[in-house]
Point group: C2
Chain length 415, copies 2
């Protein structure tokens, strides 16, 4: 390996330019992006990433779900070191979530090639097709689940987009054959490293540009459905009501309080609620809402979930409400590979990038790859902790510090 | 007057038949009705009521907003005794809410004519065009407010239907000229009596077919808007959140508890809620909801409202949430005229109909007429207290007992 001191460091302006290029596909206002999987703007963005890979001297491969892979072949056979993230967005989201990890992957692998020539091990870039569940409410991680072979055979026909068609129909519209999804599964990945914006306020609070993730949070997402009796708001005495709104309010207060009292890093969120019939002068018949609960430590997560489940069982029983609970997502905490974590930390130290160890409260594609190989993540500071919003922002200097760390880590792993 | 003993009593089958006829216009499933003001089914229903009036020997008049009036002219000039209700429905509602009062009015005035011939005072039937706020979320009592001259000059242009157009546009579509709304205001009404289903469980609990209303509840309806900061559900620590859902849950629990603890007849309902952005994994930025609070006693109502207003001010301030409060409706309790109440009670006693005195927790057109004349109401037992639902039901016998009481009261007042 060339001595670090002799290297041309990653140029912040180049990373900023790459993020800006990608943000033009599905641009939303001045700073936002609205780029749902398999839309024309998404197709154009993936083509653009493929162009980057070609320019960077990488061998481009597109798989059965539309993930774009860029390969810097190594001198020896064997599993590759892969880095990347996703290019789909929230509706609208910002320009950094996912996209920065894709731009960083191309820039870092290009730097490995420019600095060191052909590496010993193959290094790969991946631009994953879908992670956000922004077009398909009931499915996400489409790209990383395809690559790791965990998409169920009937899923493409079963999952409907919020705009109506099934995943299978939408795939066919962009020239992909849903029958071939299993062909996207790979056995050539030896490690997966994802660079991502933090999407939270902790690096900013610590005054650090980059974080090394030790664990990705575990979480469970519920849909809670409470049924009572619809009644006239003026004529039904309070003591005769079976009011699911009263029950929902009590449960929502309870689960939010429980997470708050458990202390960091426990979090519980109620982000979505529907009321039927949703009339001003009608005691509701039915109130449904989401509960999203997360903790990176398995035992603490189990405690948090047990308290939540006890809460709604008790409230519904006491109030005579019908209760149906659906678990929509359920993942245990995902520890990052200790050796990869140490490699990232050493690479950052070598580059003079100050870091801290942290957990990820958000879920990421890296969790999916953890089922087939060791994984790790680098976080880059988010201004104000804002994410899933056009206001999302990360400085070019922080982004470049992350890419420099990633490039040096890839060089260490591949050499 | 003819002696009561010689009268042919009101036939339950006739009332049931009339309710069934009207329910065909806008029929919803087996038992429901979906008949919004100024729709084709509403036009057909009003025409049908006009036909009933003609058959009953009444002089039909249609006013500038589409109320249908049927007059049994008295021997002497002077203000009329009017009875009636509204023919619009919830979406969907039942076949009795409003419609029973219209059918009862026609049947009762017909009975007055058949039993006593030309009365001394004029007796009138009215089928009011709109009461439910089911097509126009921000306006209701359209018929009774037109008749009492309380529609603001700009209101028809300002109010938009839930399906888009303004009230003025919709009126023009059915051949009514919104410029002429002021012409619907009348000065010839000397008393207004409305028969209505109870829409609550109290008569059923007491085992009585008919109630005599002494007071119609006062109420205030609010829209509460809480603004916080949208954030990622996984990455924002609980202690750094400004979560309007947490604030809403605390307020909703609080206002419902407050009304419950105050005891009957205080009622408070949160029937509608909207969440933005309404995403499973996003701490909401904004939560809005209705609060509907009612009490028939002025001082108790003021106490209830003050407690609610204190609650949301305190919660919003403590949680750092933006608070905007809009009052959409605000009415003091409406006492019924004591002389009319006594007349109704005496008429019921004469007919052998057992009754109790009660308050109305629902609001009614009668409240609007209270600004121009003495008013009173008769309630008829609702099966299971159900209303604003296709499951609404009232027995033919109870309905006929109400109509018999109404007919005898009208005869007393007009003779």
């Amino acid at each position: 390996m060339t001595e670090p001191a002799a290297l041309q460091p990653i140029d912040p302006a180049v990373i900023q330019e790459m993020v800006g290029e990608l943000a033009r596909f599905g641009a939303w206002g001045e700073t936002g992006v609205n780029r749902l999987v398999y839309t024309p703007e998404w197709v154009a963005a993936q083509d653009h990433v493929a162009g980057w890979c070609t320019e960077a001297g990488l061998e481009v491969e597109r798989d059965a779900v539309g993930n774009v892979w860029g390969w810097l072949r190594g001198r020896k056979p064997g599993p590759a070191i892969v880095t990347g993230s996703h290019i789909d967005s929230q509706k609208p989201g910002g320009r950094f979530d996912g996209a920065l990890g894709v731009a960083a992957a191309v820039a870092a692998v290009r730097a490995v090639r420019e600095r060191h020539g052909t590496p010993r091990r193959t290094v790969g870039v991946v631009s994953l097709c879908e992670e956000e569940a922004s077009r398909f409410a009931r499915t996400n991680f489409w790209g990383s689940r395809a690559a790791t072979g965990t998409i169920a055979p009937t899923e493409a026909d079963r999952m409907r987009a919020i705009d109506g068609p099934t995943m299978a129909e939408i795939m066919r519209d962009v020239g992909l054959d849903p029958e071939r999804i299993p062909e996207a599964a790979r056995d050539d990945i030896g490690a997966f490293i994802e660079l991502h914006i933090e999407q939270g306020p902790l690096l900013e609070a610590a005054g650090l540009p980059v974080g090394v993730v030790e664990t990705i949070t575990g979480y469970r997402q519920y849909w809670i459905d409470l049924r009572g009796a619809a009644n006239h708001a003026g004529t039904t005495p309070m003591d005769l009501r079976r009011d699911p709104m009263a029950g929902a309010a009590e449960i929502v207060s309870g689960v939010i309080d429980t997470a708050h009292r458990m202390g960091r890093p426990a979090v519980t969120t109620v982000g979505r609620m529907t009321v039927e019939p949703n009339g001003r002068a009608v005691v509701p018949e039915r109130v449904g809402f989401t509960v999203d609960a997360r903790h990176p430590e398995p035992e603490a997560l189990a405690t948090l979930l047990a308290r939540h489940e006890g809460r709604w069982a008790e409230v519904a029983a006491r109030r005579g409400l019908g209760l149906a609970v659906r678990v929509d997502s359920d993942r245990p905490p995902c520890p990052c590979d200790p050796a990869l974590v140490e490699t990232l930390a050493a690479a950052a130290a070598e580059a003079g990038v100050p870091t801290m160890r942290m957990t990820s409260g958000a879920v990421h594609d890296a969790m999916q790859f953890a089922s087939v190989c060791p994984v790790a993540m680098l976080f880059v500071r988010s201004r104000g902790g804002v994410s899933h919003s056009p206001d999302e922002d990360t400085s070019a200097e922080d982004a470049a510090a992350g890419v420099e760390t990633l490039a040096r880590a890839l060089a260490r792993l591949a050499s």
